[in-house]
Symmetry: C2
Subunit: 192 residues, 2 copies
DNA sequence: AATTTATATTGACCACGGTCATTTTTATTG
DNA sequence: CAATAAAAATGACCGTGGTCAATATAAATT
């Protein structure tokens, strides 16, 4: 028969996450080692994998939490009314996404739900992002010939594109937000 | 002093690539193991890494060659004159990009040049893709208020977006090309 | 031909993510 | 309070990518 989760379990998992967050804070995501997490938490390696399917599952949680935090703030802020203010409102989210190449790649890899009804923390955040942006668009002075949802998908596509180029030596000269503004003006603003 | 490359070197490298291609043909990219490549080529493991910086460098070559092949064909074909025909012309390229999740992720990861003057085979192909599409756009009946280059960047961004959703359980229902057509009609076609 | 130097190859070794049979701890039952 | 069953934790072990000092081979020099 199935029994309730033991308190011990929650304690252990919390400690693993806590240690991982501390390690990330000091050395970044890419340098995180499972060995360091378990030794820091004082448990055996196998314990880690009893709590997380794999290393990426922990990463998803950590990164997802950071993304969610930035979405919380964006949702709480005044809805932007222009491309410029929209980009500003998304700045913390985008900044975090591009804070490390490793993080950016991880987010892209987990941006979609692998299986229906098993949507991970990162995919969840990207959905929230879309819904949030679509909401903003509905109340703004943007083109009306296509749906706000479609416009929001475009915002996401162009944001990813601009971030990709940010990581590219050949295009790093131009600022990310400048490029994104260029894209979004062409995408969202109604023809004069 | 620096000496010319020995013929032995070229032979070995060619054999490594040949074996790798055969293995990929039978088992796909994701399942490729360096051990299998070297044992198949009859060399030691260290030799592999004398020829390729890491496993990804081999993957870049293999995938880059496939992409280049599809670009060759696209360049040779009749320039498309509409969104529909443009999507059709890019079909082989897009098909290969989405043939395996592993391949898609690899391409995204290496889509930009890490360092100037060290542009890899995949980044090279994506640049060719952009130039090709921009050329097509210049001779077509698309919106004229923004440059063909910018329009082409958008095509790339939307293609990637549509492919991402293709890999996502929640959105797999809608066909990739249908979705891309939706995007590109909204992006490229001049308002009526 | 013998010696030297640059290049190519080797394979034992390491790092690190991940597995699993075994043991320990916790909760339940008679 | 045993005896038992379920859940949690353990750590030796594996797979695989990647390293490097040592060795072998090829070309250049005397």
């Amino acid at each position: 028969m199935t029994r309730p989760v033991q308190e011990r379990t929650l304690k252990t998992r919390a400690r693993l996450i806590e240690v991982a967050q501390a390690l990330v804070a000091s050395g970044g995501y890419e340098a995180l080692r499972v060995e360091d997490v378990v030794s820091g938490a004082g448990v055996a390696k196998g314990t880690f994998f009893a709590h997380f399917k794999d290393k990426d599952a922990l990463m998803e949680r950590l990164v997802g939490a950071e993304l969610a935090d930035r979405l919380d703030r964006a949702e709480a802020s005044e809805p932007p009314v222009s491309v410029e203010t929209l980009i500003a409102a998304l700045r913390p989210f985008h900044r975090f996404m591009t804070s490390e190449r490793y993080v950016f790649d991880l987010i892209l890899r987990y941006s979609g739900a692998a299986a229906i009804a098993e949507i991970g923390p990162i995919a969840q955040c990207l959905q929230r992002y879309s819904v949030l942006v679509a909401g903003w668009i509905e109340t703004g002075a943007y083109r009306r010939d296509i749906s706000a949802d479609l416009l929001a998908e475009g915002v996401q596509a162009f944001s990813v594109q601009a971030m990709s180029l940010q990581f590219c030596a050949l295009h790093r000269a131009q600022d990310f937000e400048e490029r994104l503004a260029l894209y979004l003006d062409a995408w969202m603003v109604p023809a004069a």
